[in-house]
């Protein structure tokens, strides 16, 4: 049984007199200890997916339909009290900016002890022992002293390590990391990612890594979902997707990486912008920006088809593959 399976999940946002669809037909599975990357531009619905998995969407967002089975139980219809026993305990989340995710007026120790005591019956000193152990796991020097410090006394990298330690505090089965290194210094980003990878591997924790950095995804994850305008447009093993992307959008993303361009040339960016949720075009949402789009693309939305080793939502994938592989042959 997979740890998490999402079936036909759709999320909507209520507007004054109608609602807009932010996520549509999201389907994926995550095995125990598996690491999954979710990539896409800003506004593709990556973070919304993360929040939906925690059942933490706040108004005006709501889960319209679909199932989120976590260890076989549907969390969409769980009561708030039931859900609270899962959040933080079985499922943890790491946010983007460690400067603002820690409570500024509580010491590190207070925050960690509080988290432990909210889920387990523990004495304060036992909880502190666990906290110190977890801080040591994330390579915080002299953890005993850190417990009495406030978040503002620590550096950004240190804080993100503490956020990770708090996420690991109750030995969850799944960690959802929403762009965990975006707000950090480039030199520290690699450290934090390495740490996250090490911890997930050593304790068999499932990881959902939400990011727009394809480089990070290729190092960290087993499988990847590429999202565009609230839909999954390509999914499969990370190595397949990075090395042989099928969807023109994924190809565009990979071609846009600075490494793919010769020095001194302009970056090959994808023309245009992500459509806003109120104006998603008919047919394939990517069609207005796609150089291969046909009339069919602009009328009917593509089904997800299995192509080679990946699942991809594109009408033209056969032709496209033909064209690009020919292009490569030359």
């Amino acid at each position: 049984m997979s740890l998490l399976s999402v079936r036909d999940l759709s999320v909507k946002f209520a507007m004054r007199d109608h609602s807009v669809t932010a996520l549509k037909g999201i389907d994926f599975d995550l095995a125990k200890g598996e690491r999954l990357g979710i990539v896409g531009e800003s506004g593709a619905g990556k973070s919304i997916t993360g929040f939906a998995l925690m059942n933490l969407l706040s108004r005006p967002g709501f889960i319209d339909q679909g199932k989120i089975l976590f260890q076989g139980k549907d969390i969409v219809h769980m009561s708030d009290a039931e859900m609270r026993t899962i959040r933080g305990n079985r499922m943890a989340m790491i946010f983007q900016d460690p400067m603002v995710t820690l409570n500024p007026v509580l010491t590190i120790g207070q925050q960690m002890v509080e988290t432990l005591k909210a889920h387990r019956k523990l004495s304060k000193s036992d909880a502190e022992q666990i906290a110190i152990m977890k801080l040591r796991q994330v390579y915080i020097p002299s953890p005993e002293e850190r417990l009495n410090q406030y978040p503002h006394e620590l550096s950004g990298g240190m804080r993100q390590r503490i956020v990770i330690a708090i996420a690991l505090l109750l030995d969850p089965e799944l960690i959802i990391a929403d762009e965990p290194t975006t707000a950090l210094d480039v030199t520290i980003q690699a450290d934090i990612m390495e740490l996250l990878l090490e911890l997930c591997q050593s304790s068999k924790v499932g990881l959902i890594l939400i990011t727009h950095d394809l480089g990070v995804v290729s190092q960290m994850t087993d499988r990847t979902l590429v999202m565009y305008a609230g839909k999954i447009i390509e999914s499969g093993r990370t190595s397949e997707i990075i090395n042989d992307p099928q969807h023109p959008y994924t190809q565009g993303l990979i071609n846009a990486l600075p490494q793919q361009t010769e020095p001194g040339r302009r970056l090959k960016q994808i023309p245009g912008n992500m459509p806003s949720l109120t104006g998603i075009p008919d047919g394939c949402a990517f069609s207005p920006r796609c150089e291969f789009a046909t009339d069919q693309c602009r009328i009917t939305p593509p089904e997800i088809v299995q192509y080679e080793h990946v699942a991809v939502a594109c009408h033209e994938v056969n032709r496209l593959h033909h064209v690009t592989s020919k292009g490569l042959d030359k």
């Binding site: 859900m83 305990n89 989340m93 900016d97 995710t101 820690l102 409570n103 500024p104 002293e145 006394e153």
Partner: protein, 314 residues
Amino acid sequence: MSNFSTNVEASRFSRMWNSNMGYSFRRNPVAVVSLCIFAAIALMAIFAPLIAPFDPYDLSQIDIMNSEYPPVWIDGADKQFLFGTDDQGRDLWSTILYGTRLSLLIGLCAVTLQAFLGISIGLISGYVGGRLDSLLMRMADIQLSFSTLMVAIIFLAVTQAMFGSETFNQYAIYFLIAVIGVSEWPQYARTVRATVLAEKKKEYVDSARVLGFGPMRIMVRHILPNSLSPIFVISTVQVANAIISEASLSFLGLGMPPSQPSLGSLISSGFDYIFSGSWWITAIPGVILVVLVLVINLLGDWMRDVLNPKLYKG
């Protein structure tokens, strides 16, 4: 002074003394003087039974023949009575000490009640939002559209008529606390609600929800401690206001009875004699009241400047 090692065992006091707030306090003579005066008045009030030469509540110590002695620096004074005596022959100094005690007590208790009501309502209103928020805030608007004194006067006059002045005088202090406390809660509720609305959007609240904390715990443990600075600031202003309200009500004869005078009822009782030359019965408690309210307000001003990051001058 070049000690950069973090001393974890630093006491709470030295931590406060060395904080930004402590520094700005030391650099601000107005704040220092205000705090000293406030502390002196508070200590005098707390230790009134020890300091006061007479017990103004003890009828056996009062002699009507001693009435209206002037303060010692004026001719015709009795050396026993430092600030003279009032119309009933009570030592004014002792009566002021006991009166300050009552005024401060009523002020602090009323503000505690206000704060409790206002903070709870403000937290719930801001955190829950929606219809409940609108309902509670309209209630606050309605409450605010009555002036505090008007509500208090009506309430106290009605209770006085209902229970008779005998019973009323006995429980006057509770009535005063209740009426001042209840009529001013919207001040707190509005301020707290506004800060909660700002704090609620911050990511540490999301991360608290992600960690599986319930709404009660998030409100009390996470949002409330982050909203404390405006609460501190309005608390000082509210204490001063409550003391003034109490004095006004007592002056109007709706507060503390003459047998247990607060500063307000002392001022009021002396007011009848002000034209017969016994100005000190009104003037001395009046000065104390003004000084007390002034230093509290000055402290509040200083605190507002320090706690407001927009006015932060480094």
